[in-house]
Symmetry: D3
Subunit: 341 residues, 6 copies
């Protein structure tokens, strides 16, 4: 069984029930989420030996986050306890023309205040085949960026393959800061994952012919972006999710995978009725990593990753709770949603 180590934050996520707005809520669903934690859980659901490295406060709410990871089989032996608070975020689900809203309450979290040297990366990465992080983690604090570097260097020393999802969050840092920090880390990354905006936001690399608000996608534009990323940072592969936002209820969803060649492979596009789209990109990343671990060729890999993340949009909360068999059924062409009984 392959072992993947993911590193980042885990937060408590609060969302009103159903389509209630924040100002209507007298109770919130509480789940636990984080860009890299979402990847770890999805990989565990595929049968991978997934481990999560983070730091949570030594109180019950911190324990809840750990328990939720354990519940899905993620190895939490590398989780540190301490610090002041567990990050939180609030999500209000949109519908039709009303967009979803995210309010972060994650500053001063235990992981944001971690210091270099707290994690023993050589031990944590022993036996690991893959290391994954996203652009959110170095955005949490300067120290978090330093800890990412520690991890990447240990991964390099140990021959652990590395993926990074650019995941630009404008509420966490400026484009300038992001570009500078991420540019320093990218040379240690093998597989780069991004959505249609990240490359522009972080590195100023643009896909021609794309108007994100209108959801218009140009295949050539995306290949151009992937090629630029590759030539600048030496990635072996670049995977990009392609979202066509019709409304908060309906999206078209696809993705492409580029490996440095003259062209790229694109997955079929799915018309998705959205249950919960948060974590969609993370589920794409997890499935793409799975495909790399399995050594699948590019078309199979991107088809699997897009099918997995298509299905994530039908699952409440951040985690992608789809099994390998379920994703493969969809990737294999069964889109009818017929009841099995």
């Amino acid at each position: 069984m392959k072992r993947v180590v993911c590193f980042g934050e885990i937060m408590v996520r609060f969302n009103p029930k159903g389509y209630l707005r924040f100002v209507q809520a007298v109770e919130f669903e509480a789940s636990y989420a984080g860009g890299e934690a979402n990847v770890a859980v999805s990989l565990a659901n595929f049968g991978v030996n997934a481990a999560y490295v983070t730091k949570v406060p030594a109180h019950e709410i911190g324990q809840c986050a750990v328990n939720e990871l354990r519940r899905f089989g993620v190895d939490t032996s590398g989780v540190l306890r301490g610090g002041e608070r567990l990050g939180a975020y609030y999500v209000e689900k949109g519908a039709s023309q009303r967009a979803s809203k995210v309010i972060y309450d994650r500053s001063h979290s235990a992981i944001a205040e971690v210091k270099p040297g707290e994690f023993d990366w050589d031990t944590l990465l022993t036996g690991a085949d893959w290391f994954h992080f996203t652009g959110i983690t170095p955005a949490l604090s300067d120290n978090c960026a330093l800890v990412c570097r520690e991890a990447l260097e240990a991964a390099k020393r140990r021959g652990v393959r590395v993926s990074c999802d650019l995941n630009y969050r404008k509420k966490l840092w400026s484009r300038e800061k992001a570009g500078e920090v991420m540019a320093g880390l990218m040379p240690l990354v093998e597989v780069c994952i991004a959505n249609e905006e990240d490359a522009a936001d972080v590195f100023g690399i643009r896909a021609e012919g794309t108007d994100i608000e209108k959801g218009e996608l140009s295949r050539e534009g995306y290949i151009s972006v992937a090629r630029q990323l590759t030539s600048r940072f030496g990635f072996k592969k670049v995977a990009i999710t392609l979202r066509g936002s019709i409304s908060a209820s309906d999206n078209n969803w696809s993705g492409m995978l580029y490996d440095g060649g003259s062209t790229a492979v694109f997955a079929p596009s799915y018309a998705v009725r959205i249950v919960d789209r948060v974590g969609g990109g993370d589920s794409f990343g997890a499935a793409l990593i799975y495909a790399q671990l399995e050594g699948w060729e590019n078309q199979r890999a991107i088809n699997f990753a897009v099918a997995a993340s298509c299905l994530k949009h039908t699952v409440e909360h951040d985690f992608n709770l789809m099994s390998l068999a379920e994703v493969e059924a969809l990737a294999g062409g069964n889109t009818s949603g017929r009841v099995q009984r």
Copy 2:
């Protein structure tokens, strides 16, 4: 008031709330359902004197099932008490490309372990105009198949008209066993109800030009199936539901009715946004029986049956809780869903 006797199982149905997956559920909605029970309730909602014959354990959960039937006016005086357990089934609602899932936990139920002779069919059918069962009941156990035969023979003795919904369930029996048992019962049946797969599954009778996974329907194919069924078993009428599965959220829904002639009548097709599609076929059967009891001509009958079952897809849980007036309004062409106030 016409009297219809239905015979089969009633189970407790557990489903997570909303679109939660099984592994996310810390509570389940509990309702009570069963192929023939669903028919009885729908008929009672149309104002028919509907009776349900089954056996449930002599404990509170068994009583819950009886209470739920009584709540909608079904006569439960023919329900036996005893046996070990009430069958259960779990439903996870699908969305978009994620299919709904059904997990049966119905073996060893009180009704599955009933023995021939436990029901006094001549008494139970006194005053009845119609008897209904489905292919699920003989699939429960060899004894259940024998009890079905007892009921059919009593119905024949008493001139009670009989309908059967083929309702093949691959988790309950093999195609071979189903074909053999059902072939023995069909000659006692007047009206046969089926979906687009049942005739092939049970009797190997196929509709040319239909690819169920893709939801493509051929009118001629269905007529061909109905004609073959009729010529083999002597049904007076064959009704078939036509489901076009676009996704777990959206289906096209229609049906046809064949009476042995050279052609058949088809209902208009509805594009349905699904709330809960379990029980859709049963609601079609109930409405079709209602139309037969009323002596409606075929086009009116199939239009009513398809309208009724279209509406069932918008109702949570298995029972079709639509009134006669509501179904007739839709069958009459009011599809706009405007608020009445």
Copy 3:
């Protein structure tokens, strides 16, 4: 800050959760609503100094209604206490081909039994820029109609501008009675708001080429209706909502505004996935009033009003809990529903 005074009923609204039918409900969501109360809350959410005038019983359920208004910043200092009961209404949410249902239980309410002279309109309208009521209030009782007249006359005396939403409710009064009473009040109204049926129901004024059940709309027909209303009653402006009911789940939604000229302005049409459409018309009225208070030109006004009411369809319960910024974003063309984070 502009001040708007609204007058009418506030009721407790009971609806089953999600898509449950009335007969399935063992609990009801309780919110508080009323045509004019909905307008007041929406205006308060836009930052207007909105006041509500009504009468509620001097018990806790009456207090709940007041509290809900206060929660959104509505001034309730003009609410009288007394009378026998708080009106109630029950809503069952429709889906797909199943229409929503409304059951009124509002007769004998405190406000329906108010007597002329109970409200001191000159005080209540001090400092007000606008007065708003709907055709529901005079329909509650003859005395309510008299009190409306008191309010309109005081508004005239004090130079307060007046809007009325025709809002015909056939469960409250006959077309004849409505026409007679409303015709007496209209000359005191500056801005008339209506849906595609109201003008016909109340005044027998018809839009040619419109078949409401089929949701077909003719621009010329609506202009014709607005012109007739204007010439009969002397309105400065007539605003009409244009609803295309595809089903209970999907509507097309737009509106027009006419100011007595040779033509009218129409807003873009939105394809709406409905969360809750009750209160949609009220949210349109509130936004239209806001635009008048701001002195916006007609196209901007109708675009704003239609965007606001489009968004209302995505909010549970009657109140339109959208901020000015959110409405302006949609009116400005951002329809993609992308998450902001």
Copy 4:
């Protein structure tokens, strides 16, 4: 199987969840209740053929009330449809020193506006062994009082035994009116049921030595009240519930039964931790009627009635959902509440 006909109102009961106050509630549990309906359901749970006579509006909320009666096996064939509204009442559960609150919203209900002659009592009482009503029903309206008289006279004609629970409700009528109307009906009653206040409120008959607020009970005082009632109206038996209110959470509960002799029998007293005390008196009445139908001697009868109503205090909502076996176990002395498994 004995048949008991009960007559009165059935209302929708709304209560906030748990111990929430009205002003905190955004949802209400909806159940269906009424003094005599509660008796009918309890008798059905004991296996009696119980029928309920009332009138409900011809809409879905009215149907919900009927469904809830049917669910527990009550015969609802005598329920009329029509009238304007279903009565409602709101209950806020108290705790410790905070008392429970009841807000009635029952005026103008269908049953309150029934007219003499609407019910065909001779048919409704065919086959009946017992007729039961309470002092609430004649309090609803003058017409209701007249209809009670119709029922009592028909009962007398047909030899049906009659019980009445005085059930004085000060929010429905004055003591004077109650005394006058009830005094006219009592001569037709065989068994009178009351709580410790009713005799004083309705007829000015007082139990010496009792201070209700303090919950002090004097056996001699109650016997004195029962003797006075008996001598004034000719009752065969008078049963009185004895409640010692320690707080809203804890009550002592007992009862006595007097049959005209020189003394009375008293049941053991139970210290009750209250789950829901509404309907406690009705459950006492139902059990007492059951004991009369069975011909039990007085001590057994009062012990059974007090045990039944003790258990009611542990059941949510008005209905006493205890089986005969469960009540007999407690009446037989098993008070330990040990789990059976």
Copy 5:
């Protein structure tokens, strides 16, 4: 109507439903609370013109806190917007031998990071009769302590009477720091409110003969504490709550009031079945302030304050949602919790 201004934090409070432990919760009830906010709401429920001064972030969760205050009629015109986060706290309700747990997540809140000069106290206190704060507010940050001083000095300038609840929170500051800061503020306070531990924790002043864990109380000890506080800081009155903790489910509850004389008045003690004890002390403070505003004599004042806070223990969440009439009924001796109907 008297006007009271309260100053402090308002947080979102998260608690699992019922008696669930944190690690079992998948949803949290969300309410809004804070020591001084609780006082403001209770005063508003008594009919006082209560205003709340605080600072919340300019996002929807901050708005929720404001809305909840408005809902109960608190004047929120003095609430500033800005800062990073709304403080939060988590409560797990205890039962029997299991204690309740509180986890604070309030550091870095908008109010904790307020700076001197942000509030214009002279304007905020215009028209005020009373100013209230607690020892929690100066504990939030050094700046908060400075802002408290600003407020107290403005109150002194304007002749506004001042109360302070010592409310020591060991998770916020050390005893040493608390003692030093509070000692500097106390000379500006007229009425001091405390529980049985605060005086010892903050000022090292001890009640002889009291063992808090065992809940043993000595009247003389409390008088001694009050006398020491008075002589040290010059308070006009000292009020102390007396809690006897039998378990997390049952407490005895009383209080005393001392005015500098040779003795003190004590209220009756209540045996309370606890629904939610958080906010109990705040409800005592609010009622005591009310009594001072009304000029009630000491025995009436302490009886009212203890009755109010006794009732708070029966109300979910922090706010004391009891009316003046309800508190006066209990203070007047009605403890039986009988239903009023």
Copy 6:
């Protein structure tokens, strides 16, 4: 870290919310439980390396059971997949004089149908310090009894200490069968755990002077039972829980531990307000095992075990979710339930 292996069933547990009766429930809380699983989770919560051995069906509901164990840190690597169904049981919570009810639906479960040889006990017990089972597991089926023997013999081979909780369940087997089977297993057991009825039910060994229904306990009687058990089977220690059932809401709870000497140690008795008493005995067993692993002397051991199980009665569902620190605080004498903040 010590390692404990527990073996038995894990079921889905369904209970209505709060105090609702089965017949009122439209939803059930779903948790996962089993006598030995409860022990494993409690040990994991104390920080022990606890493993659970069982068999569950290879479907999602089976996975839910595994996930719930993982969530609390239990090692589930020894769980087999297969078989037909996951056992279920229904619990209705009692209150006051109404007893809780348990309905088993566990026959034909995957573990009940396991065959000897399916588990590789030598591997499963590698590194284990302790093995625990209860009398429920051999009661499931003859094969389960054989598998218990396999496990016990492997434990003996490997020097793993063994405990058994007699846990007689009359719904699973007769006293005669239980006595015969258990007598064959007991010689391999070191520590025997029982409640006050088990020894009599299984082995006919009686405590003089105890009347379970009345909750009267005699210390001498219990010592006599423990002595008889010890002399018959050679246990090193016998631990007995002592429950005094006042009602379904209130119990007195204590326990004793006997080690073959002339006397025994008894823990203090706790008066418990019950939240959920199911699993109380299992939590006692887990804590007793913990004390043995730690080598605590008898008085400390029994005090800890009784404190742990006292606290379990305040936790919803079967698992005892109390930490070591929490139990030690209570065992150390802190019973006041004061809030910590």
